[in-house]
Amino acid sequence: MNEQEITGPMSLESLQASVGVRTGRTHILTILVENKPGVLSRVAGLFARRGFNIDTLAVGPTEDPDFSRITLTVDGAVHPIDQVTKQLHKLINVIKIRDLEPGEAVQRELAMFKIDADGARRAEVLQIVEIFRGKIVDLGQLTIVVEITGTSEKIEAFEQMIRPFGLVEMARTGEIAISRGGTET
């Protein structure tokens, strides 16, 4: 809206309330925080208290030892994302929050799968691992442990494929993300 419109005539009917909408997609929030005691509890507690559900959460150091980065994913179909980010911004130890648009960032997650793979089925399992460019990180008599890295979709697709063979255990790190090109995350 330009100056002209603002100073000129306006009807109240034309005013729109734009916030509080649910976007209907998963949001990846990367949150730069000061490395202070309790900071993770503050973030997690905020989500719990406001009834926001965290789908995944990953925490680790950054290039600067004074700061950590929290990457978390939230379902924008359930929660108004602007409320989530505004509440997070109120935390004193939160320096910066970015809601990374799917196109402008690279996301990766690591998962490990322990799979029943004895005898005849082993070859078939190994073939699927190959297709997903997984790595065998442990090879036992009855089971194998496979490491898969990629987007959450890829990991979920692998899980679907492997379940029928007997998925014994699964562990996932949750997604981390970094912006593409020169822009800061």
């Binding site: 809206m1 100056e3 603002i6 100073t7 005539p9 306006m10 009807s11 109240l12 005013l15 729109q16 309330a17 734009s18 916030v19 509080g20 925080v33 000061e34 005691p37 309790g38 509890s41 503050r42 507690g45 208290r49 602007d82 409320q83 505004k86 509440q87 911004h89 109120k90 935390l91 004193i92 130890n93 939160v94 320096i95």
Partner: protein, 559 residues
């Protein structure tokens, strides 16, 4: 010097004139430092009393208040005032002792996870891990408590670290990269808001406690007068707009006036300033102000569109924004005649539905009458604190606050037992003002130990108990919504003899029962030196009306 001596220096550097607290094992070093630090320390009788006294001080003066407690039970006793201060945005720095660092996490004697248990109810908190950091943390705590949207900040100090020798360099500037409150409102948004006001035909200004925190009362009045806008305030905002002003609608919300609630219901434009669309204001959210567009002014961006979507959000300090909005509104040269019809409609509501009650036919004192009598006896000029319940609502409705920082109550948390300790803080902060408590006979029993503090400090506080012999507000709900089944609300049999209790504490006590002489009797009480406890017997089963039943819409007010 010892970290605790540096702490004293920090308090002096922050111009702290008084602290409230109670010592224990984990803050013995701190209390050793208080011994000759030359800072006024008010010994309370319960940490909750100390916390509410600090709140009363902060609310009456606008300054950051300080409260001390020990670890474990000292800290758990502070949980209620910390939460109360969070809900009502009161700037208080709470400083607690903690067990030795080598005992942390071992369930040591009097160990409680003070940081953990208060995490959801502080603006921020610090745990000292290196004594050298303590001075910076204290100054950061004051800065955070005072600026932006005010609130409680906790500093937890393990007892061993508090004795450490540190180097103290006086400084108060702080470095907080993640904390930059927005003060200046956006010019474009302010102009848009002025334009919207100029086009509105049924505007209402709805002001909350944020106007008082921002010291923006004069700006609110100026804007209201410039545009002939009607004004309503929340429970927390009372006094921000004078109750004597012809443009005053009365309080809004659950026990607000019909004029205020009906105005919200029919408004085409609502300007919310430093308020947060609490459920006690909106009632049924879907039916709240169905015809209105909203301008929302708040220093806390997270309040914008939290409950009610804003059409014109303006983030920043209310004083800054209101004064510029006034300028922009004047520039629109809007025709005041466009509001004539609206203002007539409002006047008709005010005439038809004044706050009224059926007075007794004998000399029984009706509670509403008691508050009106108190107004008369004090000339409307007292700082009034209250507890929580019917008496609180009657005071809000009938006292008629003429100025900000005169009405001190627990709104967000609704903490019984708030009134007496809050009055201690208010009287210490404002020694030349008349401070009175309107206490509930139930609530007062939750912090009556603080009478000892009142007497010890020689504070001339006058406590008026609105004595209905009931947990009255709960009784009212049981009467109205639970089929008259009075379950555990009758206090009459086993309440103390208040006059004797006053006597036991070494203060005056009187009982008042006669309507005819009430104003004169109250004046006599107010004229006495020192503290007085005045037990006023009122009708037992009077209800607080009008009322929007919980979850109903404004136009469905009852009573």
């Amino acid at each position: 010097m010892r970290a605790v001596d540096a702490l004293m220096e920090c308090l002096k550097a922050e111009d702290v004139e008084v602290v409230f607290g109670l010592p224990g094992g984990a803050n013995l070093p701190t209390y050793d430092a208080f011994y000759d630090a030359g800072i006024r320390h008010v010994l309370v009788r319960h940490e909750a009393g100390g916390g509410h006294a600090a709140e009363g001080y902060a609310k009456a003066t606008g300054r950051v208040a300080v409260c001390f407690g020990t670890s474990g039970p000292g800290a758990t006793n502070l949980v209620t005032p910390i939460c109360d201060a969070m809900m009502d945005s009161v700037p208080v720095v709470f400083i607690t002792g903690q067990v030795r660092t080598d005992l942390l996490g071992t369930d040591g004697f009097q160990e409680a996870d003070t940081m953990g248990m208060t995490l959801p109810m502080v603006k921020h908190s610090f745990m000292v891990q290196d004594a050298q950091d303590l001075p910076a943390m204290i100054h950061e705590a004051f800065h955070i408590a005072r600026t932006g949207r005010p609130g409680p900040v906790l500093v937890d100090i393990p007892v061993d670290l508090s004795k450490d020798d540190i180097e103290y360099l006086p400084r108060t500037e702080v470095e907080l990269p993640g904390y930059q409150p927005i003060i200046e409102g956006n010019q474009r948004q302010i102009r848009l808001a002025a334009n919207a006001l100029a086009h509105s035909r049924r505007p209402v200004l709805y002001a909350g406690g944020g106007v008082i925190s921002a010291e923006a009362s004069a700006e609110l009045i100026a804007l209201a007068h410039a545009g002939s806008f009607p004004v309503t305030c929340t429970l927390m905002g009372l006094g921000a707009f004078p109750a004597t002003d012809p443009q005053w609608l009365g309080m809004l919300g659950m026990h607000g006036t019909r004029a205020a609630n009906y105005s919200m219901d029919e408004a085409d434009l609502i300007v919310c300033i430093g308020a947060r669309f609490d459920d006690r204001i909106t009632g049924k959210l879907d039916e709240f102000a169905p015809h209105a567009k909203f301008i929302h002014i708040d220093v806390d961006p997270a309040e914008i569109s939290k409950n009610v979507p804003a059409h014109i959000p303006i983030v920043g300090d209310a004083k800054n924004i209101l004064s510029r909005l006034l300028g922009e509104y004047r520039a629109t040269e809007a025709d005041p005649a466009r509001l004539d019809e609206w203002l007539e409609r409002i006047q008709a509501w005010k005439d038809k539905y004044p706050l009224s009650f059926a007075d007794s036919e004998d000399s029984e004192i009706k509670p509403q009458f008691m508050i009106q009598a108190l107004h008369e006896a004090t000339g409307g000029e007292a700082i009034v604190t209250s507890d929580v319940g019917q008496h609180q609502m009657w005071t809000a409705q009938h006292y008629g606050f003429p100025a900000p920082r005169r009405w001190i109550n627990s709104g967000g948390l609704g903490t019984m037992g708030f009134g007496l300790p809050a009055a201690i803080g208010a009287q210490i902060g404002c020694p030349d003002q008349m401070v009175v408590v309107v206490a509930g006979d139930g609530s007062l029993q939750m912090n009556s130990q603080e009478f000892a503090t009142v007497v010890q400090e020689g504070l001339p506080i006058k406590v008026f108990i609105l004595n209905n012999g009931f947990l009255g507000m709960v009784r009212q709900w049981q009467e109205m919504f639970w089929d008259n089944r009075y379950s555990h609300v009758d206090l009459r049999e086993h309440s103390p003899d208040w006059v004797k209790l006053a006597d036991a504490y070494g203060m005056k006590g009187v009982q008042l029962t006669q309507k005819e002489s009430l104003v004169e009797d109250m004046k006599a009480v107010l004229a006495m030196d020192g503290p007085v406890l005045c037990d006023v017997l009122v009708s037992r089963e009077e209800n607080t009306f009008p009322m929007i039943p919980a979850g109903a819409a404004a136009r469905d007010m009852v009573g």
